[in-house]
Subunit: 331 residues, 4 copies
């Protein structure tokens, strides 16, 4: 195992970083044994719980790949970032935030209760299901294809290819997600849904079923890390104010009801999904004492064995280790 | 009014910053009319609702003072940062976090309900009253004087003088805070209090009654901004990991149940108190395009007219304006 | 107005009772102005808010009719008594009570929250919507017609005719009741529904749309009052233990979240519906000092103007007056 | 064991009833093994969990005693009936009910949560601790002695002797009941307490510590059963409307969060306490088919082994058996 944090600043090379990551992926892989793959969507149960992989992409094109990076997986709740971003781009930030709040919540991601307790108030934030379904209803379009097209275009521009929907997962989600249907009907009653429930849920299940890799997540994270600008083309793909809003949400609400602990111990904007994916971003700012190469990098993690909060159990530990040692915290 | 954000980078001087702040303090002072001074502690009602003042202190000693900076006020909930820091220094971070969580909550700061709903679980975070009272009970010492001494020593080291307790406020808090007593008894039942309730509450009321100025808050913020190091002496006053934990809590839970909106729109670690004070920190990292002088600065604000969440109504708007224009966001 | 409670026992005739009821219907009719007809189902909004009528049927065939007794109305939540009774007769009491509790609740009739707070526990009672929908799912049958047939047979036997479903109300309920659909999906997730949701809800909306008159409710109440036996034929139509269970539920949970007050001030088993109907039962026991003729009578009330709890505003006052003056309380 | 329910009506004697009760006390005594004595007040832990006793007193003086009727025990929550009655007699029913509601609740007896959820609303009912403490604060008097004097006078008149306060239990309650103190401070904040908290709690702990026997409870129950009139002296000791209100509360809220089940399965007004006592009342009305002698009787039960709801585990079963077989249900 690579040793020492002694004179990182002077001797670090990209090869050293790759080797460092390889060591720790190896180390944390055993932690996958402590978790369980998601069971609430039947197809997700088929995932191999022993997998762990990470991709880190830097502003200068550095591309670190380690572990099980070849297995595609569905994006799940990580899609909530991008439906929120697209809704803000299409409808304006204030229109969206009139319909969904940006407050963290101590409740689980699928809570209905808080909607009832808060009576006529809007969903807490776009990352709990009630908020995410509301956001999806705001997307322009009369079919799920139309609604999702701008998300696919965004992904295509950033990833260099157009990702697919995993039909098996989509069908499985559609058939089993009674809780989301309960939330949906509740939202209708509260008056928040702006498109028909079936269309909204169909779109929502499809957006969750988009298939990605850790490299895809790292590329998406890279754009988020750099204020919406793709560092390789210098093109602004997402407006800066929308990206910052999204990253604030990621930091305060991105890891379900472990978000506070992740902010405290890791301190970088990140978002997980129940398939075991995590997207994360390093801050774009330089600290003098920081490692070279990693400023503003994007990170994608995959590890389908989850902890009891629904986050990749080994993925979180790996991210925490790297973020701490490489001093990535925004704080 | 100072115009333009055009060529800030080349022409900014400290005088320009001072003048810019003066203009906007003037501008936002009228917003104080929309708020109300805190009424739940009788003595606080006497505050002049029209006041608004700010102090910004930079790493190089830059000291911008503007508006009503001469009126001392009690620190109130801002003290929760420092009792948490001292408890972590005395007992160790993990000991403290075994007794209080670090999760944000959608509930109001004085909620008992969530304790009951979560049954045997610990208070959500050190910044709601249930968590803060628990933290105060963890401070070493057999009297409130002993318990508070390390906080006073920390303040004395940073401020250059030993602040006083405002006896009127302390007595008023002690006599009127029945809700905190209800919370306290509930905490006893749950088994979280580590010192006697009367001692704990007495200490808590005293720590909330410490009198400070905007300059004091800016100096405290400066040390938090710079990883616990006082830039002028280079002394590490607070361990870096504890400071980062505190700043993560400030960002996720610092502004009561408007914390999420503050993180989204302002994006800097901050903490408010019901007397109308706010402490805030700029990130220690340099962005190339950022204004000079402001990296890692500490900020203290005072404006006793509060909004309906309990935060200084004009203070928040002033902070938001400056943080946005000066690009202070951590995201 | 008929005066005096002085020597009731010696001089009371059925004519006197009729005249007494006429007086007080007249008196309470003005109270309808204080209420509002139900608005959540569009068709119900068409009801004439000024109506107030009552029918009281005695064991010996006494039939007091007063006020607006000719307007048919839909049975709404009053049907929950009879779906519960039929489910108990079909599946056995213990089978039903394994799936729905019999505890009163301080929550509103359409609360989802308590299901979530109680986690895996069953709905509080058969009279809140979550419990009623669960009960309807337990009815035997593969179509709503099959499921409802035993309820219609029960009604036909007691009423002497087979009531109809009001198609307009049924269609209106089906189209608008998004909250019930939210509850339904939640119940699926909890595992309580024993027939498909669409079938269950369709059956539920139909059972709520059965059209009755005050005389019908009085006849149904008469059978409930007399331990399930029709006094005129001496036939046991409902088993005694099931009737008593139903009446206990009516007393503790029959009037939404005003059930406790109704038990305290009126003290007779009763159940209201949002169309403005109320069914009530006098106790079958004789008190020496009680008025003649009224032992074990059944009562039907109609007054579509509702109070803020969803109960007929004038109907409740009329019932309270009569129950108090005639000493009908079970206590 | 006494057999048969065959020809009860013709052959029942008081001796037969005594023998019947003896048999079933014997039978249910083994159920005490399934329960546990209350542990939250240390002194209560000393009770012998194997005890089970019952006293039934009839209007004509019939006095059935069976099992462990000689052990005195503290009245605990059963006192809430009598503090409520005395408060109504002193202040008027409407004054009391303006400060405490009469709605059942699905929550546990010591819940604070519902107070917070209902914001400024009053406690649900006089039998949860929040309501009972409010009621005790309404009692006239400047000392606990003065406040309790009318309760003692009521007891003395009914029991024929003045009961004592068990000092050990009182001291133990006072020292350990932090939850009640939390509730008390919460009530102060809501503005419901009409006497100082310490005085109120001191009075409350004392009223709970009054020592009684099953015979005492049966005598108290006898007066409640008969509309407030002592059948042996024909004196009205409690106004009829207050008694009926109390019995409605007993039926809807008397057995903690098993009240609904007790109403459904047993169907008589009853109230339990954590020491293992239960007071119950038979209805004052005659049914033709009912057993002789038992009309309007009062019942006292003692069995300190509790079920998980806090009710005497064997006592409830014994009461249910007798109430069912003797047809005591009010329904």
């Amino acid at each position: 195992m690579v040793q020492g944090t002694a004179n990182w600043n002077t001797e670090i090379t990209k090869e050293w970083l790759q080797s460092y990551v390889d060591d720790w992926v190896q180390f944390y892989k055993k932690e996958t044994k402590e978790g369980k793959v998601a069971s609430y969507i039947p197809v997700l149960k088929k995932a191999d719980p022993n997998l762990l992989g990470i991709t880190i992409i830097g502003k200068d094109g550095m591309n670190i790949q380690s572990g099980d990076v070849d297995t595609p997986f569905t994006i799940q709740s990580i899609s909530k970032i991008f439906s929120f971003i697209v809704a803000c781009m299409e409808r304006g930030v204030s229109y969206v935030l009139d319909r969904v709040d940006v407050e963290p919540t101590g409740e689980a991601f699928n809570s209905i209760m808080h909607l009832e307790m808060r009576k006529l108030k809007k969903p807490f934030n776009p990352f709990i299901n009630a908020g995410a379904i509301t956001v999806t209803s705001l997307l322009n379009g009369k079919s799920s294809e139309e609604k999702l097209e701008p998300i696919f275009q965004l992904f295509t521009k950033i990833l260099g290819y157009r990702p697919c929907i995993n039909e098996d997962v989509y069908v499985s989600e559609r058939e089993t997600s009674v809780r989301n249907r309960a939330i949906g009907y509740y939202l209708i009653e509260l008056g928040y849904l702006e498109s028909a429930l079936e269309l909204t849920l169909d779109t929502y299940f499809k957006q969750c079923s988009i298939e990605v890799t850790t490299e895809d997540l790292a590329k998406l994270g890279l754009v988020l890390a750099n204020d919406g600008i793709d560092p390789q083309t210098a093109e602004e793909i997402i407006p800066r104010n929308v990206v910052r809003l999204a990253k604030a949400l990621m930091l305060t609400c991105g890891m379900y009801d472990a978000s506070g602990k992740f902010a405290a111990y890791v301190g970088i904007p990140a978002k997980s999904g129940v398939s075991g994916g995590i997207i994360a971003t390093a801050p774009p700012r330089v600290r003098k004492e920081t490692l070279p190469f990693i400023e503003g990098c994007g990170i994608g993690v995959y590890g389908p064995a989850l902890d009891d909060k629904g986050n990749s159990i080994a993925g979180i530990k790996l991210l925490k280790h790297i973020a701490t040692k490489w001093d990535l915290s925004v704080f």
